[in-house]
């Protein structure tokens, strides 16, 4: 019974969503609106589960006598201070919450992402080698697209952006389409397996 109930629920809701998409009826529209509300309510509870688990994990880690315990303290301080600032001072522009977000979180995350430029350059220098004919083709295409996607490519030759656009619009798009169709078919197959109870890994089995 503990296993059957979620299977029945998933099947019913899966079939309902399928039915309401293809069949127009007032009662289905109303039920669909209710289902959407429930999706958001359930999602909010999963957020709580995630947050509580994260806090419990870092509380445990912060008690351990390891060098990494410091990072757990930083995480906990961040969670509770932002929660406090948001609850007490609000999140409007000019509030402490908003100031920390704009002046700490945004620059920190943007900096972390910007570091990629340096790592990519270093990795390209070390690893992007024409070891075979295929690697040479990859190297030439990558160079062409990199130049074609910036105005300096146009400055070198008008052909470079045209060629880069052709690569993006034809070979690259064909490959991408193939992947998308594959993903689409795979999603349909997985959805049907879940609806009919064949796929049960989401239950931890």
């Amino acid at each position: 019974m503990p296993l059957r109930l979620p299977l029945i629920l998933v099947s019913c809701f899966g079939l309902f969503m399928l039915l309401q998409f293809f069949w127009q009826a007032t009662f289905l529209d109303q039920a669909y609106g209710e289902v959407l509300d429930w999706v958001q309510i359930i999602y909010l509870f999963t957020l709580w589960v995630g947050a509580v688990h994260l806090i419990k994990l870092h509380l445990k880690k912060s008690q351990q006598k390891k060098k990494e315990a410091f990072y757990s303290w930083v995480t906990l301080a961040g969670i509770f201070s932002m929660l406090g600032f948001g609850l007490i001072g609000g999140k409007e522009q000019g509030s402490l919450f908003s100031w920390i977000f704009d002046n700490v979180q945004v620059p920190l995350q943007a900096t972390m992402f910007s570091l990629l430029a340096f790592f990519v350059a270093s990795a390209a220098y070390r690893g992007f080698r024409a070891r075979s004919r295929e690697a040479l083709v990859l190297l030439l295409v990558a160079g062409l697209v990199m130049l074609g996607r910036v105005p300096i490519g146009n400055l070198i030759s008008e052909w470079i952006p045209d060629l880069a656009n052709w690569i993006l619009n034809f070979p690259s798009m064909a490959a991408r389409r193939g992947i998308l169709i594959g993903i689409g078919l795979g999603s349909v197959a997985t959805a049907l397996r879940i609806i009919f109870g064949v796929e049960r890994t989401y239950l931890g089995r």
Binding site: G33, V39, Q109, G143, P151
Partner: protein, 263 residues
């Protein structure tokens, strides 16, 4: 070549154009032109839904994109209903919107509103089709939606002329899946460069009515607007950055070939 030297070369290539502009010319691509024209033909008073679907890490790219698109919308007297499907995009989206509306003298509640954030984007996108006030009874600032003149004009997607997703991930795809397919609303996507290639099939199939990709797209959009901004500036740095990486790859390969010959 050691790692430190590579880092210094990249740093120089990126920072020099910020102080010494190169004055590079931008050629407008057809996808950006389509994006621009789709907005440009909207009559004054149309309502566009703008979704800030990005996080703080990509702000260097999403800010120029958002500025260019919002400037175009407000200059054409199009009303904007905006929201965010990601928590971090909420604060950033509101800031961008406030800066541009202040610059162009637009009024909150009449010319634009910001609904804020709701978790679970699939349910949010689908829920807006049932009713905006059902998903967002209050806006980001805590006003009742019924108290805002613009919100009174918008019940669901029927009153929306266009949906624009400014994104750094796969959110534009969800707008196509759940808003374009189901409610037949045209969708435009302004995305980071790394995501742009993934969306060319959607553009070719007509599921996107236009696509602006990365700083390059933002710079091209600024050309069309006739107002150079952050995209122009950033693109010069990116140009030299790309060139430096290509030079490094060539040096790396020449070293590799010379070593191979010696063996």
């Amino acid at each position: 070549m050691n790692r430190q030297l590579i880092y210094i070369l990249i740093l120089a290539a990126i920072t020099v154009p910020l102080f010494l502009p190169l004055g590079l010319k931008h050629r407008v691509t057809p996808e950006v032109e389509r994006f621009y024209q789709t907005i440009d033909v909207l009559p004054a008073g149309s309502i566009v839904l703008v979704s800030f679907d990005f996080e703080a890490s990509t702000v260097a790219e999403t800010r120029p994109l958002a500025y260019a698109v919002l400037r175009h919308l407000f200059s054409n007297n199009v009303s904007v209903v905006s929201l965010s499907t990601l928590a971090e995009g909420t604060g950033l989206g509101y800031n961008f919107l406030s800066e541009i509306t202040e610059e162009l003298g637009k009024k909150y509640g009449e010319d634009y509103i910001f609904l804020g954030f709701r978790p679970q984007y699939q349910a949010t996108i689908l829920g807006l089709g049932e009713g905006f006030s059902k998903v967002f009874p209050k806006d980001y600032l805590g006003n009742e939606l019924s108290s805002l003149p613009l919100a009174e004009r918008v019940k669901n997607y029927d009153q929306i002329n266009l949906i624009i997703s400014i994104a750094d991930g796969d959110l534009p795809q969800y707008w196509v899946d759940y808003a374009q397919t189901r409610y037949k609303k045209p969708v435009l996507a302004a995305v980071t460069a790394v995501m742009a290639t993934s969306y060319y099939p959607y553009l070719a199939s007509g599921q996107f009515s236009g696509l602006v990709g990365g700083l390059k797209g933002a710079a091209e959009y600024e050309v069309l607007l006739g107002k150079p901004g952050l995209g122009f500036k950033g693109m010069e740095s990116q140009s030299l950055g790309h060139l430096m990486i290509i030079i490094l790859i060539i040096i790396g390969n020449l070293t590799f070939l010379s070593q191979k010959k010696r063996i």
